[in-house]
């Protein structure tokens, strides 16, 4: 093997190991530009050869973060604007008022991308919005580009055909698989969770049922999807219901079986995300144990908010108290005048 070829393979392996270790790939263009460029497609091939989905995901993100880092050092703001126009087909506008962020992007282009971010500053409601446009800084735009690049790398990974690997490359792949981090908890994985470890939203639904009070439709949906996801059976879930004031066993059974994918459309419903729960007024967030989780299945949080300010909500976290009590959709769609207890 030529020494240059070996350097390319070493750097390719190194890129992936960096992604495993720190979640980002460093930029070594200044050391050897050619090797830096050529090692990228080799990395893609190696990552694809591990056949591990979560490794592909992690690697794509780490490479995207690398590009983000490079763009952050870009002094010429036309470069970012040009990337949006030519690469993403999104025309940006300049904002006229120097007090506001420098660029404006169409609301739909903004939200389609920002909806995937969890930090509150990305929520539309925390943005300056005017006439169907959202004000964004250059830093915001770079962050949005990162998401695009992440997607593009994943797409490219999907298209890579794995060739028959030479023995030395096969060795590299084996080493990579051996040092790969474990997959994250997935939205469908069956895990055993003790009832005391159920997230606060699921507990809220169970508490209401326990007291014989009505659980809003969304709470029931959450409870059923969650309990199914942690390995409970339809019958286990049915056993929780008879205290509900409007309990009709046959209907409830059908609904739970529908959610489980046994009846109806045969689609198994996944546990709603924290974001969806918030929109449906059924989030009862625990500021510590719910820290940076995006689905109730990730509860309790593995991270601790150590560097969070003592008062959550200044720069992020706490929501303004504008939530109405969880409301059942059925209440306004009931066919008769008497509605159930809320």
């Amino acid at each position: 093997m030529s020494p240059d070829y070996k350097k390319v393979i070493d750097r390719a392996e190194d890129r992936i190991l960096e992604a495993f270790r720190s979640g980002k790939v460093s930029d070594k263009s200044s050391e050897n530009r050619e090797i830096e460029i050529m090692s990228f497609p080799v990395s893609l091939m190696l990552v694809k050869s591990t056949k591990l989905d979560h490794i592909m995901e992690r690697y794509a993100l780490a490479e995207a973060i690398r590009v983000e880092g490079i763009l952050k050092q870009e002094k010429n703001d036309h470069v970012i604007e040009d990337i949006f126009t030519n690469f993403l087909g999104i025309k940006l506008e300049r904002s006229a008022d120097p007090r506001y962020p420098r660029f404006k992007i169409s609301l739909q282009d903004y939200v389609k991308r920002a909806v995937h971010f969890h930090k509150p500053e990305w929520k539309l409601v925390n943005r300056l919005v005017q006439g169907g446009k959202v004000f964004v800084t250059q830093q915001d735009l770079i962050r949005l580009i990162r998401e695009e690049i992440h997607e593009i790398i994943l797409l490219r990974l999907g298209r890579v055909n794995i060739p028959k690997l030479t023995a030395n490359l096969d060795e590299v792949v084996k080493r990579l698989v051996a040092s790969a981090p474990p997959p994250p908890r997935s939205a469908y994985t069956i895990i055993n969770v003790r009832p005391e470890d159920y997230p606060p939203c699921v507990r809220a639904a169970l508490d209401l049922l326990e007291k014989g009070q009505n659980v809003p439709h969304f709470g029931r949906f959450l409870m059923a999807t969650y309990l199914l996801a942690v390995g409970k059976t339809v019958d286990d879930i049915m056993a929780l219901f008879p205290k509900a004031p409007d309990f009709k066993a046959s209907i409830t059974k059908y609904q739970v079986e529908h959610i489980a994918g046994i009846k109806g459309g045969k689609t198994r419903y996944s546990v709603p995300s924290c974001k969806t729960l918030q929109t449906n007024s059924f989030c009862f967030k625990d500021p510590i144990k719910c820290y940076e989780i995006s689905t109730p299945l990730q509860y309790p949080s593995r991270k601790k908010p150590e560097d969070e300010p003592s008062k959550v909500g200044r720069k992020g976290g706490k929501r303004s108290e504008n939530r109405s009590k969880p409301k059942s959709r059925e209440s306004s769609e009931e066919r008769r005048g008497w509605t159930k207890a809320r």
Partner: protein, 384 residues
Amino acid sequence: MDESSLALLRRYFKEYYFKHSGRIGAPPHMESREFGYFPFNGAMIRHQSFSDIGTFRALLVKEGPAGVYCSNSQYEQPTEEMQKKGWLRAELIFDIDADALKLPCKNDHDVWFCKQCGRKEFGLRPESCPACKGTRILEMTWACPLCIEGTKKEVLKLLDFLETDFGIPRSLASVYFSGNAGFHIELGETQYDELDQHVRAEISDYLTARGMVAGAFENFKLSTNDPGWRGRVARYIRDLPPGSKPFKTAEFEKRASELVNDLDSDDVEHLVASAVLANSVKLDSMVTADIHRVFRMPETLNNKTGLVKRKCEDLMRFDPFIDAVALPEEDEETLLSVDICPKVSLGGRSFGPIKSTEVTKVPLYLAVYLIARGAAKIPAKVAG
């Protein structure tokens, strides 16, 4: 519901569709929409498709259904089951319901009923029945002119958001009385039609201010001309009367400086929270986010009232208790046994309140309204 009361509703609905089905218009791209309806005492029939309005009207005349619906979504195959429909796009729809406003008048006209001991009273639903301590309590909500006024104010707030923040011309927003206790705001074709449910949820979160963090308002000095929520919060602070805590001054410029420099975070949060409460739109977020829903069609009857879902050409002048009566010309009167109901004004006639069962003669549309609300029935001797 007993047979004779049900028969009266059926007859009224059938007569309405016989006389007025011509008022029901075809939605744009009719052939791509999902239609649905449900008969009295029957389940909803969904996943229907019609390519011409005449056929659809004929069905309504024949069936006289209790509820008639159409999707805001367009599909490749509207008659397929949901997963196979092939979603294309959906105009934005917002639903504002008086009940969600929790106005003080609810205390005067809402009724609760204990399933355990049968006690019925006016007022908000208690946690447990004061007589038997039972918790199985049902509630019956009513809408009064104050509810409608309050709901109209929410509609105006929404229309302002849509125009100034979302860039949707006022001419693209149609306001409909829902036929019960609220309004549907339906938009024509906009740049937002192809957005999925997650993005739509962000839009409704923006309007309801869900997920807002107060920190965004203290970074730099507020101006009443600021776009979006900042401007709304600024104008709220400007309009607070002199002496309003926590400000030391009545002048907006100074208040804005105090906000950035002097106020502690609790004060800022409190201020933003009250500004948000005053400015946010109390809409049903699920309706906006759900792209697989069917909506009651304009000029069809609401089975919960017998009133018409009707477009409000002049929202402030629209009086649903007069303008949405389905058959006001019907002068037939009928004997009715009214269980319990607050004061009701309908079609220019006042009725009630009734606190315990009373048999009385009322115009047909009022009988339909009270039966549909679940507050009355045809008395047994008439029925017999």
